[in-house]
């Protein structure tokens, strides 16, 4: 009954406001922080292809539990993706509360942004647009990873990039812009690293934010191109699994021993 009254009046029987808005605000920030930092780690992981196919492959197998199991288990990757997917959905639900919900809200914000030309006001709009686009782009990618964890690898990812590169190009820009602006905004929102002079700190944070954005965009584009090249070189054998050099050497050595 008390929930009914609170839902109807907007305050509890004893006249108190709900604590839920505070929790939602906290959850939005916490999930955003996790996803932002996760994406840094994710980008470093996928970019290992720039070092070598073998290195990327060994990391992939490590994530499939190669340290603990004789046979790698892609299901472990699915499990991790499922956790990230849930956090992603929660964050999207929290973020939705802030998006413009009517034409007038959209119109007044756009006009204000164009008139005022204020950095943080414009950056929020980028965040809103990229956030909205990730409802679809992010979900599609996470669903792919959830259902095809075994396909992650130098050849599998290369093959995927060959067919889906426009999708991943859009996702790259959406993630990097949304994530870096989001982390910057988190610092402002909660007063992290504020120090004695918050204005000076913000200037520094903004510089760091753009440096990080550019770094990850360059790294992401280079990585995307690397996978694309692998996909093109490998297009005749699309679908074939990658075999690391050591494995090939072992097979070769075994064959030569047999021949000898």
């Amino acid at each position: 009954m008390s929930n009914l009254i609170e839902g109807f009046l907007g305050k509890s029987v004893d006249g108190k406001k709900s604590r839920l808005p505070a929790k939602l605000d906290y959850i939005q920030s916490a999930t955003g922080l996790f996803l932002g930092l996760f994406m840094w780690g994710h980008m470093f992981f996928v970019s290992t292809i720039l070092i070598s196919k073998d290195f990327m492959y060994s990391l992939t197998k490590f994530m499939e539990g190669s340290m603990f199991f004789e046979e790698p288990k892609p299901g472990l990757v699915s499990l991790a993706v499922a956790v990230v997917f849930i956090i992603f959905i929660v964050h999207a639900a929290m973020g939705m509360r802030k998006l413009p919900a009517s034409f007038r809200q959209w119109q007044v914000y756009r006009t204000h942004m164009k008139m005022m030309k204020h950095d943080e006001t414009s950056m929020w709009f980028i965040q809103a647009v990229t956030g909205f686009s990730m409802f679809f782009l992010g979900s599609a990618h996470l669903f792919l990873m959830l259902t095809q964890p075994g396909s992650i690898g130098p050849y599998g990812s290369g093959d995927r990039m060959l067919t889906l590169w426009p999708f991943y190009l859009m996702l790259l820009f959406a993630v990097e812009l949304h994530g870096s602006i989001g982390l910057y905004r988190l610092c402002i929102k909660w007063g992290w690293f504020e120090g004695e002079n918050s204005k000076e700190t913000r200037k520094t944070l903004k510089k760091v934010k753009w440096t990080i954005t550019i770094f990850f965009l360059v790294l992401g584009l280079t990585t995307l191109l690397a996978y694309l090249k692998i996909g093109m070189d490998h297009s005749d054998n699309a679908g074939e699994k990658y075999h690391p050099t050591t494995q090939i050497e072992k097979i070769y050595n075994a064959n030569t021993e047999v021949t000898a």
Binding site: Y109, T121, R185, G191
Partner: protein, 239 residues
Amino acid sequence: MSRTVTIKALKYNPNSVVSKPHMVEYKLEETEGMTLFIALSKIRETMDPDLSFDFVCRAGICGSCGMMVNGTPQLACRTLTKDYDDGVLELFPMPAFKLLKDLSVDTGNWMNDMSKRVESWIHTNEEVDISKLEAPSDPKIAEEVFEIDRCIECGICVAACGTKLMRPDFVGAVGLNRVARFYADPHDNRTDEDYYELVGDDNGIFGCMSLVACEDNCPKHLPLQSKIAFMRRKLVALR
């Protein structure tokens, strides 16, 4: 060497059935140290007596002459025409407030409502005996309270806020700053729970999207970003 400045202003009377919003262009000779307020006064005296805009003190103290200058909310009395290289100033009334006419908006009633909403007065059960000396305040705390209390209620933080424009019920930085002012004041006996009841919702502290245009445009350079972050941390931590 003086130059000609161009002032473009929105003219509209929402209370008139025949008035249609339109831009009017005025050209006038720039004088040394000319503020936008001086330019507008000259326009009203010599070109257009019908042009409405607000002012009282002409010195950046009363907070009456806020308006959008080339898209940015500013005090007309503290805006120098010489700072605009092309000599063109496009003026709009401040959004978010009730438009009275042309560049004149009703900030007074809005501020009054906001003050009531955040219960902008000292809450204490102590009886004050005015025949006795007031108990001394800690200078550091007093300084902090005075620093936040420098707000002149010009409404620029409200007009600069994209959140406020999208969500008219948002309390705005001025309201949150006011809460922080009483929070810092040891004379006020309100608890975190009490402040939560005032601004602990999506129209209050949790509605702020940290766009910081409030702080970046505040003519009194108030630390709005820090104060809002501080209140957010305090009210989120409540169980």
